[in-house]
Amino acid sequence: MDSPRGSGQRNLNTLLEENGMFRKFILLLSILMLISACSPVPSSTSTATETEPFNPQMPSATPVPSATSITLTDDLGRAFTLTTPAQRVVSIAPSNTEILFAIGAGAQVVGRDETSDYPAEAQSLPTIGGYSGFNLEAIVALHPDLVLAQGGGLNAPELIASLEGLGLKVYVLRNPSTLEEMYANLETVAQLTGRESETRTLVESLKARVAAVDQKIMPLSYAPTVYYELDATDATKPFTAGPGTFVDLLISRAGGINIGGTLQGQWAQISLEQLVVANPGIIILGDAAYGETPAKVAQRPGWETLAAIQSGQVFAFNDSLVSRPGPRLVDGLEEVAKLLHPNLFK
């Protein structure tokens, strides 16, 4: 009969049987693990050494900042330099796509993520991923000279690192928390794409529109309470926009009081009991895109006592006007103002 013990098995059995040897083996194992944890491993952020920097538009040497070059600091705190304005931009966030088209750089965009549905011209661009991950091959095949990402958690750091490891230039826009920061983002993208003059006009017009809203709101002595619904899959515990969100900011700016503003977290959950006590004067359905209508809301059990439902002040709303940090936030402000003060804003 063939001996079942090959040399491998013999060594293992010896290992297991001898007391001292077993302990030494476990010790060796632990040391090896520690060493391999500390050993220098080529990282994907140390670019340009392992894979040749892939940039057909620009020379492979590090661009020397000249009089016409653009140097900026992005959201990750890195100095970012372009020798010429970007002509082939891939946008991996819907707000970035909107910004690029709004400042007149639409012709310079070569790829978008699949959630970028505005403006209509953007929908004819090739998509490179979105919900279930991004397609690195497709991005590389588009030969971009700039990938525009968004900070604040929308684009994962691993994605940024992977793109840079492939030699692409990625600029991460800071996630704005005020309208002024949003204007600053518009100006940043303008610098990156060489659209400074158009953007100046755009920012001026945006500021004028916001000022017009402010002017009409200022003399008012009352502010309606507003409940902005983000998700009501469970109608007894719906989600509303909490403090620190743009929804909260825009409702206040439009002369309303967001009842979610006193709750915790940006995606704040409110119970039906709290909602009944707060009794908002106006209900705005930010989840209209998912099929919620004022008629359906009126039929929810327990909601019929709300003043807003009894007076018919329930409105469907296009959530992308207030959730994407781009120039359409001003559109969102005007729409919210129209709902809150219909007599002032026609």
């Binding site: 079942p4 491998g8 049987e17 979105g130 091959e137 958690g153």
Partner: protein, 339 residues
């Protein structure tokens, strides 16, 4: 016809590797593939569009193939080891909580904003790895009775810890603001980072873990007779089981730290290899390694190309494709009732 298990498995693996490199969301015509290959052999430089294609092959597909190969091998090998260790056909590498621990570690790390540097990017995989091993250690300590570690205790403690960790993970995900999408993507499985970094990082752990497992074939064979019998046949049972458990968990923890939780490979590949080539663990372990690598490569290939340019999470593909395939193999198995 003599069955040559290693030859067939290695050929299939080679085919899977070649397909994984040749196929992706960007269509590279086979003619161009041939030209690129000849160009590499000659050492020539490429002109467009071959240059882009060559870059995609070496910069994106090759590192991803390497990572997926290593992950699949780790899952297949440790799946076979767990099934032998627990003498249970439903055992998979996540039985004693490696997956739940890794998930908890990863989601915890995702809720902290790390600096954008090499170590900052390693935070999530490192946390997943560390928490996976910590879970195994805790489960092992809880299940131990004196000097022995009864199998039932291990499984029960593993299930309890797994549920606890999963509940914590779900709670963290509910409370998260921006990281929910990232957490779900990680938990569904799939390679998150491109480049050679992940594959090279997990290689030492896999070498140690899988190397130990490959030497444990005889011990696992003896353990199939039961702990008492194995002890009487001369195997130091507790030590052998501890070592095999440690090695398999190390390999699994390293595999899931970068690739997320990919199910079915560790459960089904050893069964298929057992049905085709017999239950001798000296042969089953290397074959499960090879089979796991090939299976995950095929699953990853399908995940990348079926709805290109979008990608399906690999874990979904392994379940959707793996389960029917396994049922088909089961029905066709000549030696039913082998277990």
């Amino acid at each position: 016809m003599k069955i040559r298990p290693y030859l067939y498995s290695l050929l299939f693996l080679l085919l899977a590797i070649l397909l994984s490199i040749a196929i992706g969301s960007v269509f590279i015509p086979p003619v161009d593939l041939g030209r690129i290959l000849i160009g590499w052999l000659k050492g020539a430089a490429f002109a467009e569009p071959l240059k882009t294609f060559a870059f995609i092959l070496t910069g994106i597909r090759l590192p991803r193939t390497a990572l997926v190969l290593l992950t699949g091998a780790a899952l297949g090998g440790s799946g076979a080891a767990y099934q032998g260790l627990f003498r249970n056909p439903l055992a998979d590498p996540y039985l004693i909580g490696v997956a739940s621990g890794a998930g908890l570690g990863a989601v915890l790390a995702m809720s902290i904003k790390w600096p954008y540097s090499f170590w900052g990017l390693m935070a999530v995989p490192a946390a997943a790895f560390f928490c996976a091993l910590l879970t195994v250690f805790l489960v092992y300590s809880l299940a131990r009775l004196g000097k022995t570690v009864p199998t039932t205790n291990l499984i029960l403690a593993g299930v309890a810890f797994g549920s606890f960790a999963t509940a914590l993970t779900t709670y963290l995900m509910l409370r998260s603001t921006g990281e929910l999408h990232r957490a779900i993507a990680w938990l569904s499985g799939g390679s998150s980072q491109a480049g050679w970094g992940p594959a090279l990082t997990i290689l030492p752990y896999l070498a140690i873990g899988l190397g130990t497992l490959l030497l444990s074939g005889h011990a696992l064979n003896l353990l199939q007779f039961g702990d008492d019998q194995a002890q009487q046949m001369g195997l130091p049972v507790t030590r052998a089981r501890t070592l095999i458990l440690l090695a398999a968990s190390l390999a699994t923890a390293a595999a899931v730290s970068f690739s997320g939780i990919i199910g079915f490979i560790g459960l089904i590949v050893p069964h298929i290899m057992r049905l085709w080539f017999g239950a001798d663990y000296r042969r089953l372990l290397p074959l499960s390694l090879i089979g796991g690598a090939a299976a995950l490569l095929v699953a990853d290939l399908i995940a990348r190309s079926v709805i290109a340019p979008q990608e399906l999470p690999v874990g979904i593909v392994t379940a959707l494709v793996g389960a029917p395939f396994f049922l088909w193999v089961l029905r066709r198995a000549k030696n039913q009732g082998y277990w």
